[in-house]
Each structure stands twice: as structure tokens, then as C-alpha cells.
Amino acid sequence: MLSIEIKVEALHAWYGNDEVLHGIDLAIEPRSVTAIIGPSGCGKSTFIRCLNRLHETNPGARVAGHVWVGGEDVYRMDPIDVRRTIGMVFQRPNPFPTMSIFDNVALGLKFAGVKDRRRLRARVEESLAMAALWDEVKDRLHQPAMSLSGGQQQRLCIARALAVEPRVLLMDEPTSALDPISTMRIEELVQNLKQTYTIVIVTHNMQQAARIADQTAFFLDGHLIEVGPTSKVFTKPDDKRTEDYVSGRFG
């Protein structure tokens, strides 16, 4: 029997009175990549924002259902602990503009009360190395984060998320604002990171899902239509709507 890292059961989410997720059930294995695909507005971003409880920071937003990560009920944990367990990378690179490269990566640890400079320094180096950015920035750690290129900024954001030692990494269309070369580097990075972390990635780009994901989930109008091994979802989907979407007939 396979072990389960993330288990989602009957997950519903609302913005005010609009229900945007209508009961999602999903299981994710540890150290795997799961791609969430679907047309705009289908609830895929909302879904991953429910996993780290970021959805509820929007005024009027509400969630019902269960999410377990590593056996723990996320909605019974303190949201701060949840977000330390589950890191997140956003659609556009969003380094903190007033901070240096070093301070961007160190901030999560400082939030958590780490003051020892040697530990901070060691963890910053480890995180940047894991994000394949260390070699490019090791001589300019104290320069502004905004001096990096877009692709470097996104890898910095990945390093920043890894620094607090999460189990899971959520990525919300992490390459949609990047050029093809930077996109390729991030995809390679995802392949390396999955040896350590469980990754859930939202993507608009079906080729990207096909390239990097072990498992693919297709969302439509707030419903999970189909989930399965990526090759199966793309070549022999069970549902007609999945087939129409992955063959480019809509969306």
C-alpha cells in the first residue's frame, strides 16, 4: 500500500456567497509532483490556497472539509504552523523589494524566532543551493533582491519558501511570468526538489504538466473531474471533458 502525504476530503470553499470549490477529494503521495490543470476560474488556485490556509485571509472567504498533511488535520492546526509546514511560490516573482537577497531568504526563519547568525547564514546558503541560485548570488548576498532577473527572482522565492523547512511546496503557476529558458530551469529544479519535498503545482501549460508531473488533476468549474497518473490523463482520460481539455478543444 502506498503512503499518503496530503489527503483532501470533501473540500468546499467560498468567496462570500459564491461557492468556488464543490467538494474535492484528492490523495497525494510523498515526494511526488502533482499538477493541477484546468481553464481560468476553475478553482485551481483557490484549491492550493486552501491547503496552506491562505484562502481564509481574504475577507469573506470560507472553507469546509478536511485537509491532512503528514497525518495532521490542517484545519485543527494553528495557521502559522500550517504555513511553515507548507511553503508557497506565487505566480509572479514577489521578493520583498526593500530587502537584500540574504534577508529575503532569512525572513521566514526570523519570523520563527531564529536569531543565531551562524544558523541563519547556513540555512540561507542551503536554501539558495537547493533552489539552484547559490552559485549566481554567493558574491552578492547583500545586494537588493530586485537587482536579480525575473527567473532568478522566482528561484529566490523558492529558496525563501524552502528556508523554513516545509514538507510540501505549493507552486501557483510559477513560470507564467517567465521566459522559456527560466521556465526550463524551474522545471529542472522541480524534478530535483521532489526527491525531498511533495510538490503541488498549478499550471496553465499542459506541456509543462506532462513534462514534470507524476500525477495530474483536472479541475472544471470547482469540481475535480479526473485525477490519475499524468500519462493516463493525457493519453487515455476516462472523462470526455478531460479529453476535450487536454486535446485543446476548449480552455
Binding site: 491562505l54 509572479r92 514577489n94 520583498f96 523589494p97 525572513l107 521566514g108 519570523f111 520563527a112 519558501a161
Partner: protein
Amino acid sequence: MQPRDMMQTVHPGHLRWRKWKNRLFAGVIFGLALLAVLPLLLILAYVVFRGAPGVSLRFFTSLPAPTGIPGGMANAIVGSIVMVLMATAMSAPVGVTIGLFLAETHHARWQNMVRFVCDVLSGTPTIVIGLLVYAMVVAPSGGFSGFSGSVALAILMLPTIARSSEQVFRLVPVTLREAGHALGGTRTQVWLRILLPTARAGVITGLLLAVSRALGETAPLMFTAFGNQFWSNNVTQPTAALPLQVFTYALSPYDDWHQSAWTGALTLVAIALIINLFARWVSRTRR
């Protein structure tokens, strides 16, 4: 349709008429804009014209003197600066906190009330604020003082600082706050470590504009700081201020005092101009 048909539908002279209208309207807008800045230019030119002859080292370094003896406004310049600095020290923390409350929390009813109070306060005649501080600080403490003057200025600055910092906080992208929360920051940590540093330049710009307004205020100081012909190195005593000194001298019957009043006015305008230029520079160097 064919080009030939177009030629018949649109009268050939019409383009020329449209271009003429366009030029007329652009001219009108330019003329009205010029009319709008004209009063400001006239004030500047006239204040420089009348004030410049009195500019001297003595004016900035010596005390006011009886008519017929050359004097200056050094004590008023220092008094103004000290009182405005004290007012900023009181008003800035409170105002920025109100701005944070208005921009970052979700208590719509309270926020609307606070916003309404701020708007009313910034529309309140400044003499009323002076009277309020007279009743609440000057009368109980037993006399006019520089401290009460700075309290009046602080109240005057508060709504400007609160509303301008609210606007600046709203400009900080939501994604930065979310990135902070996603790293496991509490709301307070996200405010102090991410929001405030990112908004710093804008907040400082708002503070400087409030400062430059407070520097020129006369009415709220009349019943509070009161004015002083001598050095006032004690904020519990009546304190001289530049606008008060200008006011007193302008009402006097003496020509040399009138000259000093003009030079004092020029000093006020120059300080306001410098602060505004500095504010522009700060806001341009943000990020």
C-alpha cells in the same frame, strides 16, 4: 464599401474643421491651466520682491528689536522648528497607526467612522483647534506654552498623516503580504517587517507634506504658543513662531517691521518649498 463611396459620405472639408476644433480645445485647456498657476506664481514673485531686500545674516541670527533698531527673527525660526518637530513626534506614530488600521483591518463600520472623523477634522477651521487646545491644555496648565502650540499643530497634522499613510499602505501589492503570511508570519510581523519598510518612502512623503502645512499655520498658535520677543528655550513658556511673528509685525504701524514681516513671509515660503522639493525627492527614490 469602396473608397469612392467614402469620399461622398464624409465631406472633404470636415477633417479641417475637426482639426481646428481640436487645436482650439487644446489651447483653452492650456490657457486655463496657466490661469490656475498664476496666483501661485504671483505670490512667489511678490513675496520675493518685497521680502528679499530684508534678507541678511542678522535677520536669521538675532532677536526681534524695537522699531528703529535692526533686529531679526532667529527665535521665531527656532521656535517654529522646535514646535513642528515636537508636533511630528506626537502625530506621526498615531497617524501612521490610524493609516494602518484604515488600510489593513476589516472593520468596515469603525473604519468608515474613523475616516469620517479624519475628514471632518481636516475641514475644521484651525482657529477652532487652537481654541480647543486652549481649553484643554493652556487653561489647565496655567499659561501659554510652546508645548500647547505643538499639541495644536499635532492635531492639525493628524488627519493628513492618517489618510496619506492609508493610501500608501493600500499601494503595497497584496502578493507581498501573502508571501509574508505564506512564510508563517503573523499579521503583526507582516506589517512591521514587510508593509512598513515597503511603504516607508510614501509615508515619509506624507509626513513632510503635513509638516510643511503645519509650519505655516498661525491661527492655532495664537491661543497656545502665543509668541515671544525673546529666546524661549523652555517649551512650558510662551514660544515664538515664524507665522505669529509675521502676523504681529504686519499689523504694526512701523515700516521697518513691515519689511521684517515680508522677509519672514519669504522665509516661510522658502522653507515650505524646500520641504516639498525634499518630499518629491524622497518619493522619487522609493524602492
